[in-house]
Symmetry: C2
Subunit: 306 residues, 2 copies
């Protein structure tokens, strides 16, 4: 199935307890499409400024990512600066410079409008809606969002939610969106807003998939070297939807496997700064880590029950 | 295998966002032994005051828990008062009255000294050591501990750790004990202090088992109604060790299953105040929930990898 992503391309300056990266390549669309490219062909919509290196565009092309929708305009590329404490679970934003992203209005090339799976990365819900007006008949529409839009643009966000099949969201944001601390109740409340499928990202605790009435608990791999969680959520979504796009049907089994693939890809992402760990992955390494995930959660049937 | 527990019996006064319990039956040894009693015969060592209801002792006997080591002395029973916020992950202690527990020195009846599995619940490490001096040749010694002892009695705690086979501990306490934020590195550091097996309790995120080099990720069941997490950790340990005691051998497979059984028993515990949910469990309900845990984490092999 064809997979379309609309999101950001950025320079990230990140500080973690383990080091620093200055103006490293980032942005939701970069992480998502690089991750998904290991499973399927991706169509990318985003905006970059004059300062974005051509070699990074060439890298995307080398991963067979369609960059017809990647527009270069005059001005500077979006910049984000943040830092993480020891727990690495939450980023503290130090600075955001929207630059060319401030005037971004996604324009889909004609060849993108038949996309079967559409991922609306974490951008203004009004822009997400603009994308939905341009796609013809997608089989699966998936959105991400964040506190900033839940707080500031809830009406627009709820209009988007009423039109998406799946929401991929952080745990804390899910609780906030639902106004409910209990995760199961929060999931039911969010599903009632539109998305049949809900994927809750929980960082080092893995992910939960609520799909209709089905509940799936995906693990995260306990890693000895976590350097930088930046982009892990988009890398997760890229693995999830890239894998789904490579499946013949989108059923419960495929959704569960896809959630684990998302966790697998995120586990690579956090092992280095920026996209570094994702650039050079061998498909064999992905399959190998997937097997580690199988081993991680495997337990046999009860031997006795007195 | 025979299973011995040394811990507390208490009255707990607990407030959660979902209600209140005043002077309800609690204490590590109560939760542990009730939970373990579904799998094996338990030998209990604890102290109670004159105010502890005889019907609760009768309840323990009705669960085939050996109460020869449950000493009633003059004075009042240990009391704990605490409350939880909406996330239910951390208790805030409002008041502790040690009462008869203040002078507690565990004395093992002769018939207990051959116990094959020994659980040292979260008590003063000096008392934990007193127990170890009284048991003859246990096959598996397991301890719990908490921040209070890590801060205040680290030397005594480390002496205990050098003599235990397994430590069962909360995630935040594991990080504190190891002085290391990364969970894998923290686990290795704790294992280096003595315990070959380490079980990390993560509340609604399940549990991690580090057993030698083996790592196992056990899920928690996403529950719609969580009323009171008090005792969940001891209930978990009771399921874990009760199940292990019922197995023929303690190998990696048994340890993984036992960790899930611990999560299963904890999932019942939190659905009601005090011991209420644990008093009336049918073995069928335990097996049924274990199957739900299997379904919760089940995912097939990769369908494709492009």
């Amino acid at each position: 199935m064809s997979l379309l992503v609309v999101g950001s391309v950025a320079f990230d300056s990140v500080e973690t307890p383990f080091g620093k990266a200055e103006e490293a390549i980032g942005g939701s669309a970069m992480f998502f499409s690089t991750s998904a490219s290991y499973f399927t062909k991706v169509q990318l919509v985003a905006v970059i400024g004059e300062d974005f290196p051509q070699e990074e565009v060439d890298f995307l092309c080398s991963r067979d990512i369609d960059c017809e929708g990647l527009h270069r305009v005059s001005g500077k590329t979006f910049r984000w600066e943040g830092k993480y404490g020891f727990d690495l679970n939450e980023a503290i934003t130090l600075d955001t410079q929207l630059n060319v992203f401030g005037d971004f209005h996604p324009e889909l090339p004609q060849s993108y409008r038949d996309a079967e799976i559409v991922f609306l990365a974490n951008i203004d819900p009004d822009l997400q809606m603009e994308v939905l007006e341009q796609v013809k008949n997608p089989r699966l529409v998936v959105a991400d969002t964040m506190n900033f839009w839940i707080d500031g643009k809830l009406d627009a966000l709820e209009r988007v939610l009423s039109r998406v099949d799946m929401l991929v969201i952080n745990e804390g944001e899910a609780r906030k969106l639902a106004g409910e601390a209990n995760m199961v109740k929060a999931a039911r409340a969010i599903q009632a807003k539109g998305p049949k499928h809900l994927v809750i990202k929980r960082g080092e605790y893995g992910a939960l998939l609520f799909s209709g009435d089905d509940v799936f608990f995906a693990p995260a791999y306990p890693l000895e070297s976590v350097f930088d969680p930046t982009g892990a959520g988009d890398t997760f979504a890229g693995g999830l939807l890239g894998y789904l796009a490579s499946c013949e049907t989108i059923d419960t089994a495929a959704l569960r496997q896809a959630t684990v693939v998302g966790c697998v890809m995120a586990s690579f992402c956090v092992e280095d700064f920026s996209l570094n760990a994702l650039r050079k992955l061998e498909p064999g390494a992905i399959a190998e880590r997937f097997k580690l995930f199988e081993k991680l959660v495997n337990f046999g049937p009860l031997q006795s029950l007195d």
